[in-house]
């Protein structure tokens, strides 16, 4: 019984470490996907001038997965004649900080509102800001991502040793 409890405690600590490290990984994947998404919009709007709904519906599955549902929330706004709000856009998305939410909200709010030249310039501006965020996420992931996981293991071992 004691050994089982110790194993459970160790597992819990490792899981907590893994959970925090995944948060950094998810943020990294999110910004990579967001940049891909914005680049795709930029190209398609310039060349095909395809409607926004169609462009968003046609995003590949991997990018869709990493966008954490923001694309679907935005699509719901486009389809349902409702106002775009933070609550709607970031429903089920809890890894972003407030300033990041504000930036991404402004990006989505600007989509479809101007002519091709204005729209592509707007996207380019946001892409620069997303790039900065991606670089920050990369260094955070390097610094803290693996650290969290390792700390989880160490904490688990520490608890096990103390309890023994």
């Amino acid at each position: 019984m004691k050994w089982l409890f110790l194993a459970l405690m160790f597992g819990l600590c490792v899981f907590v470490g893994y959970f925090f490290s995944m948060k950094y990984k998810k943020r990294l994947n999110f910004y990579s996907a967001l940049i891909l998404f914005a680049q795709k919009l930029d190209v398609e709007i310039n060349f095909s001038r395809e409607r926004l709904k169609k462009l968003i519906e046609n995003i590949d599955e991997k990018t869709k997965k990493n966008l954490l549902g923001i694309d679907n929330n935005f699509l719901a706004y486009l389809n349902d004649n409702q106002e775009l709000t933070y609550e709607l856009l970031f429903k089920n998305c809890n890894i972003l900080k407030q300033d990041e939410k504000e930036m991404i909200f402004l990006f989505f709010k600007s989509l479809g509102r101007t002519d091709v030249i204005g729209q592509t310039k707007e996207i380019q501006n946001f892409l620069k800001r997303f790039d900065d965020k991606l670089n920050k996420c990369l260094s955070d992931n390097k610094k803290y991502g693996s650290l969290c996981f390792k700390l989880g293991i160490i904490a688990g071992l520490f608890i096990v040793v103390i309890l023994i």
Binding site: I45, R51, L52, N81, L111, G112, R113, T114, D115, G118
Partner: protein, 300 residues
Amino acid sequence: MLNGILPDQIFLPIKNKVGFSSINEIRLRANKPIILSIMGQKFFLSENGRTRSLNEAIIASFSMIEEIIFRASECSIYSVNEQIKKGFIVTPNGVRLGLAGNVIEENGFVKTMNTFSSINIRIPHEVKNCSLKAYSSIISDFGINNTLVISPPGAGKTTFLRDFICQLSERNLPYDVLVLDERGELNIGNGLGNFADIISFASKKVGFENGIRSLAPNLIVTDELSEWDDMEAIKYASNSGVKILASTHSDNMESFLKKFAFKEIIDEKIFKRFIVLSMKEGPGTLEGIYDENFNRIMRW
């Protein structure tokens, strides 16, 4: 028809209290009451439907107008900028929104339009058999006569053209019809029958040249002739042996004859029939049919 484009504040009173079928136009002007045009009469829109009382009227705002244009462009203004440059947007189901706002010009060309201040929403109607009275003067034993439909704005030219194309199809007349739908207003509702090819949003010059070359039509139908380029396109079609059914804005025959752009094609007698419509007894009232020498051959 305008569900998902108009905000509920406007859509619901119209749908529930007025009915879209009775409305010809909805006009929104920023910070002014919303106006409905019903059978040639003007009303304000209120929460309870149409009204004459200014106090009850719903007031349009800049943001309301901007949102309607955004929704009408399927949330993609960039995709309809060429239309916006010409001062309108057409929704996927053929509703035309005329726009007013700040026009941005560069080197003499319109670049785009912004700060929209007015919208005129024209509700298209399908009036079955509205072209029948004039049908026999357009179609004769020798085929189709080149015909020009003349009327003031909103008097039913487009509806007439649309019905005529459907009449040809219903009678199984073996004419290949090329519909040059420059503003996307002709091809709406139940379509244009079984013998129509449709080129949308192309200028008449481009549409006529490409259409005649690639689709070999017997008849070309197009709306709203007005510019010199349009006349060149008409002459090109006529010289290519293709028949033409077209429309143009004018109050009556007298004012039409004063239109300078038409002088050459009138002198060359390219059009054999002129059909004049008016608003006298509501949109689509047939005033008269004239031959190429402007003799009235039918009167109502």
